[in-house]
């Protein structure tokens, strides 16, 4: 998938694209400048002492002061107050990030090796593409089908692990009308670094249109083969099936339609409309010999028109 880069808002941070980003950045800069001041405060005396007390002779007079209770108390208490302050600064932003507003749009999110599936309130599903309206709080209810994953959108400053066997939630309200990137930040295996997704932020009206018709802003309905080509890329077919004949995880799509494949159980099958459909819905029923049975099912993830479109597209890949 081709993703646009993350825009930088400053030298350090990505652009702020959610309502809580500003508070988190402010906290970041507070501790940043505090650190800079403290570091300079430590290093300047260090440099000065190195210069001032550099050894001149073997019989240099050295100080015999071995302790100062006043100093010890001072440099215990002052930092203590500072770090308690930091704790509360952190706590405040974090509380906001933890408690979603009541009117939040709930999107069910499932992570698995190595893709993201988003189920919208009306039943729509998108894979590796999270579509959210601008200016409305969105709450993701997340779970994992296999191992730990983590949901991270740098521009939103939100992160939450996705844990199998339990639900975790994260919320944000996007403020910028443009695309950004979602990372998986909990190591999950070979495809960990490819487990990225696009976050599409759009106007509420465009979002509603997309929910109803599946059309992105400015998009016209596509002819089946072109829709299929798009699905090939957006539904992660391309991570396992090549177009140029090379072997990835699964058999190549080059010349796949009409080919006769050897099945793992010894039989063989001709790749036709029915086999493609079955492979999408029950992928592990007839696995091509020599390939691992790792394909996830697309049952419920593809509409009938999508399946037709994929079949139409595969006919064109020769």
């Amino acid at each position: 998938m081709r993703l646009d880069p993350i825009e930088l808002g400053s030298f350090w941070m990505p652009k702020q694209s959610s309502t809580i980003a500003q508070e988190i950045d402010t906290a970041w800069y507070i501790v940043y400048w505090l650190d800079v001041v403290m570091f300079v405060g430590l290093m300047v005396p260090l440099a000065y002492f190195m210069y001032r007390y550099k050894r001149r002779t073997a019989k240099d007079k050295v100080s015999d002061v071995t302790h100062s209770t006043t100093l010890e108390i001072t440099w215990t208490i002052i930092p203590s107050i500072m770090v308690i302050g930091l704790f509360f600064v952190g706590l405040s932003g974090w509380m906001k990030a933890m408690v979603a507003p009541g009117n939040a749009l709930e999107i069910r999110t499932t992570a698995e090796m190595y893709m993201w599936t988003f189920t919208y309130p009306n039943g729509n599903v998108s894979v590796n593409e999270l579509v959210v309206p601008k200016g409305q709080p969105v709450k993701l209810i997340m779970s994992s089908k296999d191992v730990l994953h983590s949901f991270f959108v740098p521009e939103f400053r939100v992160k939450q692990d996705v844990v199998p066997g339990t639900y975790t939630t994260v919320w944000f309200e996007a403020t910028e009308n443009r695309d950004t990137i979602l990372f998986c930040t909990e190591y999950c295996g070979v495809g960990h670094s490819d487990m990225m997704a696009r976050v599409r932020v759009m106007e509420k009206a465009d979002y509603d249109t997309w929910q109803e018709t599946g059309l992105m802003p400015g998009e016209k309905p596509l002819p089946p083969a072109e829709l299929g080509k798009k699905l090939y890329a957006t539904r992660s077919c391309n991570t396992c099936h090549s177009l140029d004949g090379s072997r990835i995880q699964g058999p190549t799509f080059k010349g796949v339609f009409g080919r006769t494949e050897q099945i793992a159980d010894g039989t063989s099958v001709k790749v036709d409309e029915n086999y493609i459909r079955e492979s999408l819905l029950e992928p592990n029923k007839k696995v091509v010999s020599g390939y691992p049975a790792v394909m996830p099912t697309y049952k419920g993830l593809l509409k009938e028109t999508d399946i037709d479109a994929l079949i139409a597209y595969l006919k064109t890949v020769q």
């Binding site: 709930e106 499932t110 599936t117 189920t119 039943g123 779970s143 199998p164 639900y167 419920g300």
Partner: protein, 167 residues
Amino acid sequence: MSTSHAEHDHGHGSGNGDHVPHVLPFKVYIGTFSTLLFLTVVTVGASYVDLGHMGNLIVALLIATIKASVVALIFMHLKWDHKFHAIIFVSALLFLAVFIGITMSDTQFRGEAEAIEAKNPVDLKDPFKAERAGDVAVPKAAAAPAAAGSAAPAAGSAAPAATPAKH
């Protein structure tokens, strides 16, 4: 025999002047042993009385702790030993308490899953099942029973063993 161990370390407990350090009278051991046996009977007996979710646990732990203290203090001579050994022993228990206590501050206060599940009856009761919600719309009829059976997902689900995690 002035060089016996412990004589100058453990002033008390060895009043007989013998060089052997704090040999306890036999009756102390037999007394301890009887106490332990008695408490074992008590704890078994107490377990037949239903004292509720926490009640039985607290009683059992209390008796076990008395027994453990007796073993540590007398059989293990902690009562007459260096104070430092007692500190070592107690600090182990202290750190264990910290470990269990703080870990439970997480596990006891997580529990958001059920609430969400009740509120959000999407057909994702069992995140490990291969099927997912349909594209068109969530069939309301299918969702309702799934929500009802959601209290103990694995017990209610047809075949948890049939869909193990990928290996």
